[in-house]
């Protein structure tokens, strides 16, 4: 009766929550009936006592009727579930050791999965914290190799088919598209500036800034919690420079003081007034970013001059702003794409006349709910982490299934009695499942707590040593649902085998006194298969851990061609508006000289690119006189360095000289090439004394004289081969951006940093030292992913190993105890203890070896997927596989040894009496 569903549910719930009232009323009501009937009987002439007796008899059993009434209002299922729960709780309380192991292993399994899911959600799935993020679209383009997009300032990628995919657009093009827009409510633009130099109350510090268009807030609908948002009036060249800071920055730098509003700070030399604070949930338009201040795009020429005259606002050729649009409700992606493609084309043709249509890039509309999303690179690693954590949980499940199975065997008698007394199999099944789910819930709750407590632990593994990360991952409802679903699935998974087994018992034999041996055998078989599965899963984890550990070790012990010891690094990025061209070089030189005088500093130098920091300068050079080939062929990695650079890194000079004080701007241009470049440019003979020219210069430009050849040394990355590298003296550089200073010292960062800071301040008080760290820490930072994988995979592997050990011990202990009798007979007939011992160990090794073999085969298939994450070894590395097999086998034997020894020392008399 579907129409009665709602009143029925309401009535059940009412009774559940006011149970005592139901019982009271039922009692009164039934008593009234009996009394009323008795009174009628008395009226008909029956004596009172006889009447009451008759009334009771005719009414029937009161308690039975009450039970039927309870059933009528749907309380029976509820009552039974409660009874099951109470019973389950009692059983768990009676076996504290079992319960502790079960809950702990589940908590670790579910906790690990929850923590990694939280991370995955944070990094891969969480949308921008703005209303209706699903309406947002991000604009991008794709172009073929012959295309004409560029110069680029922003993110672009090369696709497999050779196309370039990018998100930056020229600002005038964006304005043009916005003007002709019909499909979008609004579209806005931004550009991530990363780090600028700020001066707040006389202190120089770094400030993470993003430039946004005037309609940024009205397009994204993000809110401010204090002051006001930026508006179109702020985004004009004549407007007073203003900015909106992030909530985190407000808290960290201004202690949430109201005085921060209206405060004027200098950003790259420009006075900017803080007018508002963003909501704490909003972390800027780039996924994973967290700009501390949002500034109007119109500030670009003053804050971050670029291009020929510093301003990009009217530049049709320079691609730099990222565009986000909010789609009008009811407009489909295809229609929007078509409309934009057309307006993109016509805008391009208007701003870049004379280009052939086929050379123009294609417009691509993408999902913008995460803003500018560069997290694609994390996808595979996080999926691998989820898989690893999933395997741990499976091992925990198998383990619990086994423990419950052993328990259900011990309770075979109880089950048989219940079946014999008429309990339905479904009822028994439900009871065993209730117990499993109770355990799962306890484990899940503990796991959720563990996952919450450790929510920042895994992200912090990715952190570098010198950045203060105030990372606070916030698990949301989805994380909770994930943990809940995981708990239910887990409970069902490990409950199903014991539940099935419990209802299969043969009542007859189950009730017999010596029934222990007969169902024991098949139970042990099921148990052993479960343990074999555990061992197999464990093998997969161990192989994974081994591969990641060896990858990390290979990378750490790589021959870099340079020494990374005793070097302290920091970055300086003086505003171009204050220090450009010559001035900049002179500033750096003064600082370099000053640093060398700091006590404890052996030598000081600098380079335009920090080494092993994933930063690079890639340009086209060619041997003078030779015609340039394709850009890829001529791609040379350049680093502008100081005189002591080669000494600081102990990069050997194979011939010629390094740089000298005489290599000044007014002296002839010189350079040092590494062996790779020497061989590439001058395969026929010595590079020394030859000259090199920039590809885009004609023959009249003064070429670079090769004055030295250095040994090959790594540049930006550990994994990549040494690239063809050209070192140039920074003092001859025409343009320099941010530079990294390297200081050789035996002292620690903490003890030498104040001296370095003072030295820089003595030259210019407005320059903050950025990222002060050792070169060693720098290398560890680019190894963060490898380190996280090695750490987590090893941790998971050990966890699984412990669980597998418990599983093996459990199943063998059960086998031995159920065969005490047989073993006693063997011993009585003259078997030696040694033989019994090896018999048990042999049995252990049979299923251990089966599990290991299955696991290695599975690992062989699965580890192919992580090939790209490995270094210096194959995914099929025999040593790793052998190692994993050996460790597992050793653990299996050790776990089997305790039950085996117990078997060997069975007291013959007692065992025989055991019958």
């Amino acid at each position: 009766m579907a129409l009665a569903l709602w009143p029925a549910l309401r009535s059940t719930l009412r009774h559940v929550f006011d149970r005592s009232r139901l019982e009271r009323e039922m009692e009164v009501e039934l008593q009234f009936h009996i009394d009323a009937y008795a009174e009628d009987l008395v009226r008909q002439g029956m004596p009172p006592t006889e009447a009451l007796r008759r009334a009771r008899i005719e009414f029937g059993g009161v308690e039975g009727r009450k039970e039927e009434c309870r059933q009528s209002v749907g309380l029976r299922l509820w009552d039974e579930a409660r009874a099951d729960l109470r019973y389950g709780a009692r059983v768990l309380r009676q076996n504290p050791a079992f319960t502790a192991v079960a809950v702990l292993s589940l908590a670790l399994g579910i906790g690990a999965n929850t923590a990694i899911y939280t991370l995955a959600r944070e990094i891969l799935f969480k949308p921008l914290a703005v209303p209706h993020p699903e309406q947002l679209r991000i604009f991008s383009w794709a172009q073929s190799k012959q295309g004409h997009v560029g110069p680029l300032w922003g993110n672009f990628d090369r696709a497999k088919n050779g196309e370039t995919l990018g998100t930056p657009f020229p600002y005038p093009l964006f304005l043009e598209m916005r003007k002709s827009n019909r499909a979008f409510e609004n579209m806005t633009a931004f550009h991530d500036l990363y780090r600028l130099t700020a001066n707040i109350d006389g202190t120089a510090e770094a400030l993470d800034a993003t430039l946004v268009a005037g309609n940024f807030y009205s397009t994204l609908w993000c809110r401010v919690i204090a002051g006001r948002a930026l508006g179109p009036d702020d985004d004009t060249l004549s407007a007073t420079p203003v900015g909106v800071i992030s909530d985190a920055y407000w808290a960290e730098r201004f202690a949430r003081s109201a005085a921060a509003l209206g405060k004027t700070i200098r950003v790259n030399g420009v006075a900017v007034t803080i007018v508002g604070v963003n909501g704490p949930e909003f972390h800027g338009p780039k996924a994973g970013g967290s700009p501390q201040i949002l500034l109007p795009l119109s500030l670009q020429p003053r804050v971050s001059p670029m291009g020929d005259d510093g301003s990009l606002l009217a530049d049709n050729h320079f691609w730099w702003v990222v565009v986000l649009g909010r789609l009008k409700p009811g407009i489909g992606d295809a229609a929007a794409q078509a409309a934009l493609e057309q307006s993109f084309r016509s805008a391009l043709q208007a701003t870049l006349p004379g280009k052939k249509a086929e050379d123009l890039p294609r417009f691509v509309l993408g999902d913008g709910r995460r803003g500018l999303d560069l997290s694609g690179a994390f996808e595979q690693p996080i999926l691998v982490l989820l898989a690893l954590a999933g395997i741990v949980l499976l091992v925990a499940c198998a383990n619990l299934a086994n423990l419950l199975l052993a328990r259900s065997a011990a309770r075979q008698r109880e089950m048989s009695v219940r079946l014999a007394m008429g309990a339905g199999r479904w009822r028994i099944l439900r009871q065993v499942m209730t117990e499993a789910l109770l355990l799962a819930t306890l484990g899940g709750a503990a796991g959720l707590l563990a996952g919450y407590a450790g929510r920042n632990a895994i992200p912090s593994l990715f952190d570098d040593a010198w950045t203060a990360h105030a990372m606070d991952v916030r698990p949301d409802a989805r994380v909770f649902l994930f943990a809940l679903a995981l708990t239910l699935v887990t409970g069902i998974l490990f409950g199903i085998a014991p539940a099935w087994r419990a209802t299969r018992g043969d009542v007859q034999s189950g009730l017999k006194e010596n029934a222990r041996t007969s169902p024991g055998r098949s139970r042990a078989r099921l148990g052993k298969s479960l343990v074999a599965v555990q061992v197999a899963l464990c093998a997969v984890l161990l192989v994974g851990a081994g591969l990641f550990l060896r990858t990390l070790s290979n990378l750490r012990h790589l021959d870099l061609g340079l020494s990374i010891e005793h070097l302290v690094l920091f970055q300086l990025d003086p505003p171009q508006a204050r220090f450009a061209g010559r001035q900049r070089v002179e500033l750096f030189q003064r600082i370099e000289d000053r640093l060398a005088e700091v006590p404890g500093v052996q030598l000081a130098t600098l380079s335009s690119e920090a080494l092993l920091a994933h930063s690079m300068d890639n340009s086209c050079f060619r041997p003078t006189g030779r015609v340039a080939g394709s850009p890829a062929e001529n791609s040379t990695w350049v680093n502008h360095v100081g005189e002591k650079f080669f000494d600081a890194y102990a990069i050997r000079l194979l011939s010629g000289r390094g740089f000298e004080a005489g290599d000044r701007a007014d002296a002839p241009r010189v350079g040092v090439v590494n062996q790779k470049l020497a061989r590439k440019f001058f395969p026929e003979g010595a590079a020394l004394g030859k000259t090199i020219t920039e590809c885009d210069r004609d023959a009249t430009a003064s070429p670079i004289l090769v004055v030295g050849v250095s040994a090959d040394a790594k540049y930006s990355d550990l994994r990549e081969d040494v690239p063809p590298t050209l070192y140039l003296p920074y003092r001859q550089a025409e343009e320099l951006g941010a530079v990294t200073f390297e200081v050789k010292t035996a002292a620690t960062v903490a003890s030498v940093a104040p001296g370095l800071r003072d030295a820089v301040r003595a030259v210019d008080s407005d320059l903050p030292l950025l990222d002060v760290r050792t070169q060693n820490q720098q290398v560890e930072a680019i190894l963060s992913q490898e380190r996280v994988f090695a750490t987590l995979a090893t941790g998971f592997g050990i966890l699984a190993l412990v669980l597998a050990g418990i599983g093996i011990y459990g199943v063998m202990a059960y086998t031995v105890s159920s065969r005490t009798n047989e073993i006693g007979i063997r011993l009585a007939l003259g078997a030696r203890a040694q033989e019994v011992l090896s018999m048990v160990l042999r049995e252990t090794s049979v299923f251990a070896i089966a599990g290991i073999a299955a696991g290695l085969i599975a690992a062989f298939a699965l580890t192919r997927m992580v090939t790209s994450m490995l270094y210096g070894l194959q995914a099929t590395d025999p040593l790793t596989y052998l190692g994993a097999a050996f460790i597992l086998f050793a653990i299996a034997l050790v776990s089997g040894l305790i039950p085996a020894r117990r078997a060997a020392h069975v007291d013959t008399m007692q065992a025989l009496r055991h019958e």
């Binding site: 039934l30 029937g60 009727r65 039927e68 209002v73």
Partner: protein
């Protein structure tokens, strides 16, 4: 007087609905009214009345209220709801159709086939 008939499976609910449709009744009253209308030709298990009453209330076909009985005792009175009224009509109609069909079949004589 012939021996009272045992109640047909599933008809008790309908009879209770009919009984309370004539005015609010407590459980014992329901029993008396059914016996009175049927002139004691139906045998009803007294105790079985209550699970049925609870079920009907659970389904929202009747509602109960505590009140005072004829002999000044606290008793629970049941009364039909709008849903219950509709349900009684459909059930009664179904029952009539059913008895027609069954009766028709049972009255059939050999010539008619």
């Amino acid at each position: 007087m012939t021996k009272p008939l045992d109640l047909l499976q599933g008809t008790l609910d309908m009879l209770i609905l009919k009984a309370v449709s004539l005015g609010p009744l407590h459980g014992y009253g329901v029993l008396l009214r059914i016996q009175q209308i049927s002139k004691n030709r139906l045998e009803i298990q007294q105790g079985s009345l209550y699970p049925a009453l609870y079920r009907l209330e659970h389904q929202g076909l009747i509602v109960s209220e505590w009140g005072e009985s004829e002999n000044k005792r606290k008793a629970r009175f049941y009364r039909l709801t709008a849903t219950g009224k509709r349900q009684l009509l459909t059930e009664a109609e179904k029952w009539n159709r059913m008895t027609d069909v069954i009766g028709g079949i049972l009255r059939t004589v050999p010539e008619e086939v």
